[in-house]
Structure formats: C-alpha cells, structure tokens
C-alpha cells in the first residue's frame, strides 16, 4: 500500500504569485525510507507541511491537487487525526519542546488523545526506552544539551505511535553524538514505519534510506534509489546539494563502492594526489585568553587558547562541552550574578581582562547563532554603517560601502535586513559586525541550518578576510566545514580544551570526543594514521 500519494499538487503561499510547490505524481510506499533533500528555499518544508497537514490546516494558501496519507485525503482529515498517523520531528528541539519536565513532554501527545492511563503508560515507557533517555528523566528540559533535547522531542513524537515519521533536518542543531543517536533510531525502525528524512547532509543520511528525492525550485528533479544516486551526481551538484567528495571520485574512477577507504586506495593506485589546503598557523598571537566560569560551585569552563593573525580556530566538541559558554565569557556576556567568571584576556597587546563587553566590542566582533538579533536597523546600509557611525569614525560610509561590496549586498542596500533570505541575513550580520573595525571575530555555529551553497560562500568569505588580516574563533559541529576552512581545531570536553592541533592532526582521534572526521579527511589520510 502507498503511505503517501501526491497527484497534481500545486501550492502557493498567499504572498506569492508563482506556486512554491508543483508536484505531478509522487508516492512513498509503506515502510519505505526516503531522503528528501534540496538547498534552502527549494520547497522541502512546503512538501513536508503538505504531508503532515500543516498545509492547508494551519498555513493558508492556494492549494490544488491531491495529497493522500494511507489512502485518505489530507485536506478532508482533521489535524489531530493526521497527527495520529504522521509524526513530525522539527529541526530545532528548543522550539519543539514546550514542557519543563521530560515526562510531561513525552506525555503531551497521548494526553491530547485522551488515551486510557494504561495505554498512556505503555506508550510513554516505550518511547522513553526507544530513544534511551531513562538516565536523565528527572532533569529539566531547559537544562538538557541539544542532542538530549532532540531525543526528548523524538520520544514525544514516538509516543503518538505514528505510521509515518517525518524528520525535518533533525540533526542540524545537534552534535555528532546526538546525530548518531537519531540515525540509530532511523536505522532500527526502518521498515517498521515510513520515514521521510529531510536533510542537507546527504552523506550522513544516505546509509539509512532507500530512495533519494531532490527538490529544486519547488519541483522534484530527482527521484532515484540510493544505489543509482552516483550516476546523478551532477544533478545534485547543480541543485546546490552537498555531495560527499568520495562520490565525485568514485564516479571519476568508475568504482562501484562509495567507501572512502576503498576510494582512497584507488586514488593512491592511480597516483592521484588530492589537494590539501595550507593551514595558516604562523601569524603573531592576536588574542590570548585564559578564562574560567563557575555556576553553583561547578566549573563549566576552564580554558586557555591563543588565536593567531589570519587564523581560523574552530572549537569543536559534544553538546554541553562548554563551547558557547566559552565564547560568552570571552565577550563578557555571562550574567556575573549567576556565574563566577574570571578572565585573563589580551587582545593585540591590550589587557582587556577587566573590561566589559562594551570595551571588548572595540576589538572583537561577535556573530551569535541567532544572528537575527543583531539586525536593529531599517535597511542594510544603515545596519552596516551602524557600528562605525556610533564609534564616530569619520569614514564610516567608506568602511560600510567597502563591506557592502565585499559581501555582494549592493542590490540589497535599501532592503529591510529582517526580510532577506537566511544566507543574505547572515552576510549582512557579518558585514555589520566587521564594520566595528575589530579584526577578531567570534562566531557561534555559523553553518547551523545553512545549505551547502551558503556554507561554501561563508567559508570562502572567511578565507578572504583571513588574507586581509582578520582572525576567527568559530564554534562549530560541522567537521567538514572545519576541515575545509579551518586552520586549527580545539576540542572541548567538560569545559576544557583537551586537544589542539591542525585539522589533519585532530581528526585522527577526534571520534573519542564525539567529533566525527569528515570523509574529505578520510580520503586524504593514510589508514594507519586514524586512531579510533
């Protein structure tokens, strides 16, 4: 039986003239797992919302055609009835989880269904055990790491016992360990339920799916079994989707396997040398920091690091390792009444240890994960002039205009920054942060939720700025990004930087610390060098 059947579907949001989604004929069989991919704004989420009933029951627009789940027309069903059949795990668990206690969160769905107490008990216990959250049931959801919270969100969906499960970019905000747990669930439940996994990271999801569906400009442009994906690598690349490097070489070398180690051997046999970027770790030290932060007598950060001129220093590690707190200590953003903070901070020869965030802001620019919070001006131009203008730098216009040009924002100069696309907003924020004339930039998860193309643009911008003498301290879970654009990596665990080195050194043993090496690294390193 077909779990999902779509025919002649057209959907336009009320504000749009052209349809956002056009699908002539598409189906998913019961028990099948598919990977739904495409760049940001391609129409993936719209498609998912048509399946889980959010369109047309919550989001209005012009909808025509048919979407059936298990033979029933979505538009004729009530949303709670759809929720009994289709479960949806969202991208950001912090936005999905609404209860304070874990059990209340898992029980939310069954409570809505007014299930008998025994049945509720059975479902809740099963969901808790499936995702393995028994050990921290007593903790508060506000104090869980991203990975733990995502598992709680998953348990709350499982407790609905859906026949169809949609996982909408379930790993984009969590660490590799949390990602592993989510994919383990997908693997264990393959064939037991129909699964739709929406992911940018084809490489991570591919082992767990049967079929790959690519959406571009609101249309399905590729719908193939994963075994046949290699022959369509170009389609994926043209659609701006991140392809594991081994796929490209496998196709080039006409190898059937996509195992990076097999491809690496073949490359060696064929005398093909893969390029390695030169790491820039020789510049003078521009920032030297030794910081600690304590809460309720427990040290949550105790780290020391040096950042060099023109260097990209990536901080990696599991959720809850203290990475974001480290950045917030460096910025003097922590609430001193809650946290006991000590910092020795020297930037470009100036001791800023006792200076607050207002003074530190003259030397350090900061781009938070929720970068929209920076956008306080009515247009892009004013936003980028903001910092230099407030610092009374006479040539603020010249500085701003240069950044507008550098970040290709000329045509958006008078647009409202909050109305731009994610990638454009991120570029405005970077330009606005750099306009403060600071030469050191701290970034918290800048690639989170960004597609391949946006990540590539970001990486290239960062490298260009490094050539111009800027230095970056970046908190990231994205191993591939760190490998491609980073010069130095510090692994954090329990608030401490436990290992530092170049990406080629760190990825040899980083798995022990929950940081999985990207396939780019695996293709370039000799097998015996990897310590697992």
């Amino acid at each position: 039986m077909k779990a999902i059947e779509i025919k002649d579907l057209k959907f336009s949001y009320l504000s749009d003239e052209k349809p956002t989604l056009v699908i002539d004929d598409f189906y998913i069989n019961e028990g099948e797992s598919i990977l739904l991919t495409g760049k940001s704004g391609s129409g993936k989420s719209t498609l998912v919302n048509c399946i889980n009933g959010i369109i047309p029951h919550v989001i209005n627009g012009d909808l025509s055609g048919s979407v059936k789940i298990l033979g029933k027309e979505v538009r004729d069903m009530k949303l709670p009835d759809i929720a009994r059949v289709v479960g949806t795990l969202l991208q950001d668990p912090e936005r999905q989880v609404m209860n304070y206690s874990i059990v209340d969160e898992v029980a939310f769905g069954p409570e809505n269904l007014r299930l008998p107490r025994d049945e509720m008990e059975r479902r809740i216990q099963k969901a808790i055990s499936v995702v393995g959250i028994e050990d921290f049931l007593e903790r508060e959801t506000t104090k869980l790491s991203g990975g733990e919270l995502q598992r709680v969100a998953l348990a709350s969906v499982i407790a609905m016992e859906p026949k169809i499960m949609i996982l909408d970019e379930p790993t984009s905000n969590i660490d590799p360990e949390g990602t592993e747990q989510i994919f383990r669930f997908i693997q264990e439940n393959k064939n037991r339920m129909t699964q739709i996994i929406v992911e940018h990271k084809v490489e991570r999801a591919l082992p767990f799916v049967d079929r790959v569906v690519v959406v571009n400009n609101g249309r399905i442009i590729l719908n193939v079994s994963k075994e046949h994906l290699m022959r369509d690598v170009e389609v994926l690349l043209e659609a701006g989707i991140e392809i594991p490097e081994e796929y490209i070489y496998a196709k080039k070398l006409r190898i059937d396997s996509i195992d990076p180690e097999i491809i690496r051997e073949k490359l060696r046999e064929s005398n093909i040398q893969l390029s390695r970027r030169e790491r820039r770790n020789q510049g003078e030290i521009v920032m030297s920091a030794k910081v600690t932060a304590e809460v309720e007598g427990r040290k949550i950060v105790d780290a020391k690091l040096d950042l060099r001129k023109g260097q990209v220093y990536c901080i990696m590690g599991k959720n809850g390792a203290g990475k974001t707190t480290l950045i917030r200590v460096l910025m003097d953003f922590l609430n001193k009444k809650q946290f006991k903070v000590s910092s020795l901070l020297n930037i470009e020869g100036e001791d800023l240890s006792r200076k607050d965030y207002v003074i530190r802001g003259r030397k350090i620019a900061y781009l938070p994960q929720s970068f929209d919070l920076m956008l306080v001006s009515k247009n892009v131009e004013t936003e980028i002039y903001y910092s230099a203008k407030h610092r009374k730098i006479p040539e603020f216009k010249a500085i701003g205009d240069q950044l507008i040009e550098m970040f290709s924002l000329e045509d958006k100069r008078m647009s409202d920054p909050l109305m731009l696309s994610t990638g454009q907003r991120r570029r405005v924020c970077m330009a606005a942060a750099l306009a403060s004339s600071a030469h050191i930039m701290l970034m918290d998860e800048p690639t989170s939720g960004q597609d391949f193309l946006n990540k590539k643009i970001l990486g290239e911008e960062i490298r260009k700025l490094c050539d111009a003498g800027f230095s970056f301290l970046i908190v990231t879970h994205d191993s591939r990004f760190a490998y491609r654009y980073g010069d130095f990596i510090g692994i954090m665990e329990n608030g401490k930087i436990v290992h530092e080195g170049t990406p080629d050194e760190i990825f040899r043993y980083s798995e022990k610390y929950g940081v999985i090496a990207p396939s780019d690294f695996v293709l370039r390193v000799s097998g015996e060098e990897v310590i697992s």
Partner: protein, 321 residues
C-alpha cells in the same frame, strides 16, 4: 512668576518619575534578573510543594483583599510575601530582585497618579478637606497641558502610595506562582478550573517564552552596545543607554521569537493538540496536607478582611464610601 529654577526643578521632578522606575528595572534588576524572577527552578521547600491551584487562589484572594481593604493590609501582604521569598531557591537574591521591582512599581505608580489625581478625589479618599492639604510643589501653569493638577500635595502622594500597594501584593503573589510551578502544573490546575485549552496553551507558551524573550533581548542589547551604541557615555548613564538600545532591539527580538512561535504551534498541532475539547493528564498533582493547611490560611485571610472592612478598614475606594 515662575523662575527658570522653578521650571528646571519641575522638569527634573517630571523626569524623576519617568526615569527612576526604568533605572531601577534596568540598573538594579537587569534583564537577566527579570529572567530569574519569572522562571521556575527546581527546589524543595514549602512553596514548591504547594499545589498550583492553592497559589492561583492566593493570587486571586490577594488581588481582592488589596482592592477592597485599607492600603496597609496590601502593604503588609506585599512585605510579608516578599519576606517569604527567603524560602525559595536563591531566596535572598530573589527577594532583592523582587524588592527592586516592587520599589520601581511604587515609584512609578506614585508618580503616575500623584500629579494627576484630582484633589477632590483625594479629599474624599482621605476624608480631609482640600484646604488642609500641604502643597509640596507648584507646577508651572503650562504643566496643566500634561494633565497635571496645579499643586502637588503631600496628600496626593500619600494616596498614590496607598494605590500602589494594590498592585504590589498581586505582583509578589504572581511571581511566586511562576517561580515555584512548572508550566505543566499550571496547565493542569487551570484545566481543572475549566479554562479553555487554547487559552491555557497560550499561557504555557508565554511561560516558556518569557525566559527566551529575556535571553534574546539581553543578547540583542549587548550586541548593539558592543557595536558602539552609547559607548562614549559615562557609566552611570548605562541604564538609560540600555533602555535606548532595548527599544531598538524590540523588533529583532520579536521577529526571532515569532519565527520560533510558529514551530511551537506546529509542534503542538502535530501532536494532536485540540483533538478533544479537554485533555487527560498522565501525572496528577494531588491535594496534600500542606495544601489543606494553606487553604485554611486563605479562608482566614478572607474572613479577617471582611471583618476589617466591616469595622471601617475598607476605605480604599473613595467612590464607595
């Protein structure tokens, strides 16, 4: 004739009333402090064990008592409840933060009422003829455009201070509810009171969102200031710089939160929210011994207030006397 000095003092008094509450809120409490007194933290003392329904009843009864009884009953309740904050997690700190909030409410209310309050009303409320009022300041005539009475009297300030205690008692009791109950406990209680689920859900989302609002707001303001906003101003003006930066941060914070609110709605709807007119609850919160004892205290408070009003301590509303 009014000298320039009189005019300057008048404007300084005007600004005092507007700026001091903001100064106290942003300087002494801060955005992070607000977060602390509006967020539940796990702990195990009397208030945390008390059923949410009892605390909701406490809030309602306090609002009624403060409204219908003489002002000092509201004041006693305010300071009594504030003192009991000591038993909360980080009790001293919460008492300090809530204390400054109460102070800002008192200053704000007094300055919001005293210059405007018609003297005839004050006279009725205090049962004192206007001729016996003590004038503490006389405003320049053009202040009447602001709606000010020509004379600011000691009695107007005194009456406005009384009014402020109608609000403070309710605020202290409401914060107590929010700091000692999880949103789920409040849902269950409100559900028992037959409040419709969509309204309850809105409250829960608000309770979940409040800490996030403060966090996002705090980050947005700090980033603005890091980027040079008000960087050259002296440190003692910092609360006003924060206030000005806060105004600019409202839009990005709201946009950020609204983007999240859509996901919360989808999260609830895709888990069958509103499948039936009412919900069942997995974890029940039974009424315990301390709940009965505290309910008894509430009944006693009501009885004592009724007696107080009957013996003449119910003059809070002049129009009713």
């Amino acid at each position: 004739m009014y000298s320039i000095l009189d005019t300057v003092i008048s404007w300084l008094l005007f600004l005092f009333g507007i700026s001091i509450p903001f100064y106290l809120i942003l300087g002494a409490i801060g955005i992070a402090g607000f977060r602390e007194i509006t967020t539940y933290e796990k702990y195990d003392t009397f208030y945390y064990r008390l059923n949410a329904s009892v605390k909701i009843m406490l809030s309602i009864i306090i609002v009624l008592i403060a409204t219908f009884s003489i002002w000092w009953i509201g004041a006693i309740i305010t300071f009594g409840l504030l003192a009991s904050y000591k038993s909360l997690k980080n009790g001293w700190r919460k008492m300090y933060l809530a204390g400054f909030l109460i102070l800002s409410i008192i200053v704000g209310t007094v300055w919001g009422y005293a210059p405007y309050e018609p003297l005839s009303i004050v006279s009725m409320a205090l049962k004192t003829p206007v001729s016996k009022f003590t004038t503490v300041w006389t405003w320049p005539p053009y202040f009447s455009i602001l709606g000010y009475e020509h004379h600011l009297t000691l009695q107007s300030i005194y009456y406005s201070l009384q009014i402020s205690f109608r609000f403070t008692a309710a605020v202290v009791a409401s914060l107590l509810l929010v700091m000692t109950n999880t949103p789920a406990q409040i849902i269950k209680t409100l559900s028992k009171f037959k409040i419709p689920d969509p309204i309850i859900f809105s409250l829960v989302v608000a309770m979940k969102t409040v800490p996030a609002v403060f966090d996002s707001f705090d980050t947005s303001i700090k980033i603005s200031m890091m980027r040079g906003y008000g960087g050259n101003k002296p440190r003692f003006l910092r609360p006003f710089v924060v206030l000005a930066a806060a105004i600019g941060s409202i839009v990005p914070t709201m946009v950020h939160l609204l983007r999240g609110a859509k996901d919360i709605g989808i999260s609830a709807d895709t888990r069958a929210f509103r499948a039936y007119p009412s919900r069942t609850y997995y974890i029940m919160t039974p009424f315990k011994r301390e709940d009965y004892i505290f309910s008894g205290v509430l009944v006693m408070m009501v009885v004592m207030t009724v007696i107080a009003i009957m013996v003449g301590f119910g003059r809070a509303i002049p129009y009713l006397t």
